[in-house]
Amino acid sequence: MIQLEHVSKSFSEGIPALNDVSLHISEGEFVFVVGDSGSGKSTLIKLLLKELEPTSGSITINDIDIRKLPHRKIPYFRRNIGCVFQDFRLLKDRNVYDNVAFAQRAVGASNRSIRQKVPVMLSMVGLAAKYRSFPKQLSGGEQQRVAIARALVNNPRILLADEPTGNLDNNNAWEIMNLLEMINSRGTTVVVVTHNMEIVRAMGKRVITIQKGNVVSDSLVDGMGGDDDEN
C-alpha cells in the first residue's frame, strides 16, 4: 500500500529532513509515526501527499510510483488519500455541511452524491445535529471531527493525520483517536503523526519512531506501553 525505499529529503545543505528512510505500510494498517519536533514526521506526510519531492529514493502508494506521477495526475492520486491536520484547516466562512460538501465538490461529485454522502459522514463523526454550525461555534474536537468527515467523504483508501490531537485536550484527543480507530476498522489505512506518547502507548498499534530524519525504531506496541515486536 505505502512503500518507501531509501527516501531522503534535504531542503538545503546540512542535516537532511529525512535520511535513507525505508518502510512498508500494508493495506488496513494503523500506524503511528512519532518523534520530536523537527524530526521529519511532517516531511514524511508531505512526501506521501506529493506536496514535496524526495531528494532521492522512491515512494510507491497504491502501486503508483509517485515520483513519476505527472502534475496533471496528482489531483486524482490525492483523491485516494484523506488528510487531517493539527489546525483543522476548515473554511471559516462555511458551515459544517458545506465544509464537508466542499471536498465532494472539489472532486466534481454530483449534487445527488453530496446530498447522500455528507449527512452519512456527519453522522459517523457524531455531528449530524450541528451541520449548520460554523467552525467558530464548535469546540476543537468538533472541528477536528468535521475535518475527518471532510477527509473521508471521498472514500480514500488511506487517511493521513498530521498531529490530529495537537490542539485538543485529553478527552477530545481520545475521542478523535477512537474515531480514527473506528475508521481503520472499516478498512481504511490510517497513518497518524503525533507526539502524544500516552495515546500511542495505550492504543497498542505499530509505531515508527523518527529522530533527526532517521527511522530509529519500527515496532508494535502491546497496548500497555511495552514494545511487542521490533521490525
Binding site: 501527499l49 506536496e51 502534475h71 496533471r72 489531483p75 486524482y76 492520486f77 490525492r78 483523491r79 488528510c83 484547516r89 473554511l91 466542499f102 471536498a103 472539489a106 472532486v107 466534481g108 471532510r150 471521498n154
Partner: protein, 281 residues
C-alpha cells in the same frame, strides 16, 4: 472588495485606451482626408494620340495605389487657369479668343489610397510611353506620410504601455485576491481538486472584471464623445472648417469590440497566469 479594485483599475485603463483611440481615429481620418486631396498629375508628350491617352488611362486604372483619377482636357486646363488668374479681369482672358495657350496641357489627375505609395506610382508613370512629365507634391506627401507613421508609432507605444499597466495591475489585484483565498486553494489541492477546478472561479471572475471594467468606460466615453464634439464645434467655430470629427457610431463601431476583447483578454490572462503560480502545490 478586490474585485471592485480590479474593476476600477481595468475601467481606468480601458477609459484611457478609449480616449486615446478616439483621438487617434479622428486624427487618422483627418490625415486620410488630407491625403485624398493630394494628386499626381500626368502630362503627355506633344505628339500623343487620344488612343494612347486612353491606354495610359487604362494602365492607371489598374494600379492598386489609385483611388480615383480623372482626365483633364486642354480646354478644362485653360478654363481652370483662367478662372484663377484672370479673376476680376475676365476681359484679359477673352483676349486669347479661341486660342488655347495650354494646348499641350492635357493631363490625368490621380488620387491615391495612401500617399506613402506616391513614389512607386510616380516611377511607374514616368516609364510609360507617351508620358512627358509627372508632377507631384512631394513635400505634402512626405509630411502626411511621416505624420501618419508618427501617429502609428505613438499609438502603438501608448497602447502597449496601457496594456502592460493593465495586466500588471490586474495581476496584482488577483494576487491579493488569491492570497486571501490561499488557504482555500491549499485545501482544494490537498483534497484532489484539479487545476481547472481551482482556477475556474478566478478566471471567470477575471473575465467578469474585464467585461464590467470595459463596459463602464465605454458607456462613459460614448456619452462624453458626442457632447465633446458639439462643445468643441460651438466653442471653437473656426475648427469646423479645418476638422471633420468622426461621428460617434463610426468610432464606437471599432472601439466597442476592441475594448471588450481587451478587457476580457486582460482579465483572462491576468487571472490565468496569476493562478498558475499558486497551483504548484
Amino acid at each position: 472588495m478586490f474585485s471592485l479594485a480590479s474593476i476600477a483599475t481595468m475601467a481606468a485603463c480601458i477609459f484611457l485606451f478609449g480616449l486615446f483611440f478616439a483621438i487617434v481615429t479622428n486624427f487618422q481620418s483627418m490625415v486620410k482626408e488630407a491625403e485624398e486631396g493630394v494628386a499626381v498629375t500626368v502630362l503627355f508628350d506633344d505628339d500623343i494620340t487620344p488612343q494612347q491617352i486612353a491606354e495610359i488611362g487604362d494602365r492607371i486604372k489598374e494600379r492598386p495605389e489609385v483611388s480615383a483619377y480623372n482626365f483633364k482636357s486642354a480646354d478644362d486646363a485653360w478654363e481652370e487657369f483662367s478662372q484663377i488668374y484672370f479673376e476680376g479681369n475676365e476681359e484679359l482672358a477673352e483676349g486669347f479668343g479661341d486660342d488655347n495657350p495650354l494646348q499641350k496641357s492635357e493631363s490625368y489627375e490621380i488620387y491615391l489610397n495612401d500617399v506613402s505609395m506616391q513614389d512607386t506610382l510616380v516611377k511607374y508613370l514616368e516609364n510609360l510611353d507617351g508620358v512627358r512629365e509627372v508632377r507631384r507634391s512631394e513635400i505634402v506627401a512626405n509630411t502626411l506620410s511621416d505624420f501618419n507613421r508618427l501617429i502609428g508609432y505613438v499609438s502603438a507605444g501608448i497602447i502597449l504601455i496601457l496594456l502592460c499597466v493593465a495586466v500588471f495591475l490586474i495581476s496584482n489585484t488577483v494576487t491579493v485576491g488569491i492570497a486571501v483565498r490561499k488557504e482555500e486553494i491549499g485545501i482544494m489541492k490537498l483534497i484532489g481538486a484539479t487545476d481547472f477546478f481551482v482556477r475556474a472561479p478566478f478566471v471567470v471572475e477575471g473575465i467578469l472584471i474585464g467585461l464590467i471594467g470595459s463596459a463602464l468606460p465605454l458607456a462613459l466615453l460614448y456619452g462624453m464623445y458626442s457632447r465633446l464634439i458639439v462643445y468643441i464645434m460651438e466653442k471653437f467655430n473656426f475648427l469646423s472648417s479645418l476638422m471633420n470629427f468622426l461621428p460617434v457610431s463610426t468610432v464606437f463601431r471599432t472601439l466597442i469590440p476592441i475594448a471588450l476583447v481587451l478587457g476580457v483578454g486582460i482579465g483572462f490572462l491576468g487571472s490565468f497566469t496569476t493562478t498558475r503560480k499558486h497551483l504548484k502545490v
